[in-house]
Amino acid sequence: MNLKRLRIALWLLVGLVAAGLVVFLWKQAETEQPAFSQTSLGTIGGPFTLTASSGKPFTSAQLNGKPAAVFFGFTHCPDVCPTTLARLTKLRRELGKGDDALSIVFISVDPERDTPAEVDTYMKLYDTPVIGLTGTPAQIDQVKKQYGIFSRKVSQPGGGYSVDHTATVILLDRNGQFSSTISMEEGNEVALDKLRRITA
């Protein structure tokens, strides 16, 4: 008799826990809808606010609606940064879908030297649109963390400094979701395939 009551009580408890779990998961699914959606591959990306080369605030939402190739660098970088931007502008041209099909975005990892005006003159080297962004050191730290970017200042002999930094290009689809990456060592054919995929 007692045993039967206990069994019923236990079943009731199981039922309660299950119902609780359903409600909990339901609520979580509701709250886990960030404005700038997360990816199934992890948490690369996320909403950010930086400063455009015009000096005006620039939010990640302004990138939505168009796929983007995002590169982190600095304007005092003579080799890797101009090489990567040159490569991206060339790849976009080879894609043959026009400048509007893909945003090329440069985000500074050297906010101390890279004022919006500095970024603006740097972007004007290219005769094709490139979005140049900078921000406060805190804003840059946040966006670096969101995109898994490493950077570190290194003093140069004879004064000044250079910045070691992740040179991998991050590709976002038109909803701002992480799609894939383009590395320095990767061939242009592979890179073009990835760009075709996000601009399809």
């Binding site: 304007t75 003579p78 080799d79 040159a86 004007k124 080297l125 004879g158 930094h165 040179a167």
Partner: protein
């Protein structure tokens, strides 16, 4: 009779025993503001002796140094390369993303279409001057 091959041998030795440096295809991308520039060159040693690039200078910049971009795990690091060995009968082509000559403290930003002289000092062959062409921003 013996003198002819001996002389020929001597001549060949003389030819092979000297470094013969030729520098070509020197170019840079344009720069803005006070940002440094990067020059890429091709060095050919057509001689039979090894040579070394020991220093670079130009009136156009306060400092010219051979730098090396190293990539590891996606992170680019720029470091001084020191002297560059140019072995006999070999050539070195500097390409973007690798070895380059960094110009720090440019007197004026580099403009597409401009050119300026760059002096390269080699241990064996002495000084070689090359004209650097400033290319388009998207040249690769």
């Amino acid at each position: 009779m013996l003198l002819i091959p001996a002389l020929a041998l001597l001549a060949a030795c003389g030819q092979g025993g000297e470094a013969k440096i030729e520098v070509s295809d020197a170019w840079a991308r344009p720069t803005r503001g006070d940002a440094p520039g990067a020059v890429y060159i091709t060095i050919e040693n057509k001689g039979g002796q090894d040579d070394r690039l020991i220093s670079v200078m130009t009136d156009h910049a306060a400092m010219a140094m051979v730098h090396q971009t190293e990539m590891s795990e996606g992170v680019a690091r720029m470091r001084m390369a020191g002297e560059i060995n140019v072995p006999a009968e070999s050539s070195i082509k500097m390409v973007p993303g690798g070895t380059h000559i960094m110009l720090e403290g440019l007197r004026t930003p580099l403009k597409t279409g401009d050119s300026f002289p760059l002096v390269l000092k080699f241990r064996e062959s002495g000084e070689e001057t090359v004209s650097v062409r400033v290319a388009e921003a998207d040249e690769l």
